[in-house]
Subunit: 143 residues, 4 copies
């Protein structure tokens, strides 16, 4: 198994600043690994909301997470500001694979790199639905 | 029991912006009440760090929380930006009572108002220590 | 201000075991104060669900939190099992004040004591509704 | 890419019960994907503590997370009890790959399956250290 390498900011299309919180740090003095996934959820869903794809509590189509993963290269701590970089690596029939790099403060190299796979489903039946052409077009800007 | 009233931004001395995260929302679609206390911890400790009172992992004196409380006036949701307002209401021999107002986005009236009592202790023995004159002077700016 | 005192298990009517998690500990090696409120939420809502008062996603009446508070007497850590004790101290027209003691492992004296005020509202309009006689009767068992 | 399949309880060596909490549920009414990683952290570190490999705040060797990942097969919700199953899939020179299955309540098939890679480092220098023979022997029981 080859371990993925850290990437520069230029590898990502869209950024969002997310300050860390006191309790993100665990007893080892760094942001706990699980908290990175809160950042992934936050940046992906913010992008969906800002692009009028998701309206919480109203959208008929919602994204459910079927797979996530993360490689950790360097610690992040409180009080750092995390800059999440977002790109799309794969657009399927009803699923999208997002990739996220987390950069601490002014760092040029990411502290962690993750992926996050959403399957878009009908909010009521929770069955997969095809991505709309409009959504595909918007996602294309993150590729 | 008289219920406390919401306060304006002018009631607070120091502000910090803290964006909400996807998972801060609970099933009722609003930031869960417990998460407000993460904001309290974050703004108080950030202020201590920025004012050279606390250096995580190095300070000989740390603040332990002995009492907290919060009144909730209006919902906050993801993706809002919370602006925390901080002031000091009481400086004791070894304890400090902080009061925090949380304001959603551009709101003039706080969505919640809390208090947070720190007792400052020796990091090793965890016994209370007297506040230094320097710390008292800095805390005075938040009164 | 007189500081509340720790209470014994006998002061509470209903108990629930809630093990701590790795990330509940903050950099000071103890469960962070905010996490105590997750325990409050968990024990109150579990009781409501077990007593057929709340069915998440289906109930027409839901409880919104308008006030919480906690006094901290002794640290809790990971990996402890927290035993939450629950009682009702006040039943209003549409509100209920719960009091919760958190006991670490086999401790007879609580590590923290909190209160938690729910206002019951219509799920759609979020306007207060009167507590039903059935709910009052069930809550009476926690007094 | 072939998607991993859900596994039965018999695929795991060691189990730990971890009840869900109210705020684990996000707005879609299920335990948020990030929370699964809190369960991974909790079960791995509990096992290390119970087997006298880790003593928080005292051990000279600690485990830092360098990679995690999870596939989600079925929802978990509050108030479910999650039964985490743990096994070891790879023991390196200074790293260990744990695999975890999360089973809701009495379910025979896991709701999610994850992996969690620890590199063991010197607590002070944070440089990798070789696993001791004693630790290897204990880890062998999870293979």
């Amino acid at each position: 198994m080859t371990r993925p390498a850290a990437e520069p900011r230029s590898a990502y299309q869209h950024f969002q600043a997310m300050p860390t919180r006191w309790n993100d740090n665990d007893v080892y003095g760094h942001v706990n690994n699980s908290v990175y996934y809160f950042f992934f959820d936050t940046i992906v869903n913010c992008w969906l909301i800002e692009n009028d794809i998701l309206e919480i509590g109203k959208s008929e189509t919602i994204g459910l997470v079927v797979e996530t993963g993360c490689n950790f290269f360097a610690p992040i701590t409180y009080p750092d500001v995390v800059h999440g970089g977002l790109r799309v690596s794969k657009i399927g029939s009803s699923s999208v694979t997002y990739e996220i790099g987390l950069f601490a403060n002014d760092d040029e190299s990411c502290a962690a790199k993750g992926h996050f796979v959403h399957v878009y489903v009908d909010e009521k039946t929770r069955r997969p639905v095809k991505l709309s052409d409009e959504m595909r077009e918007k996602l294309g800007h993150l590729q």
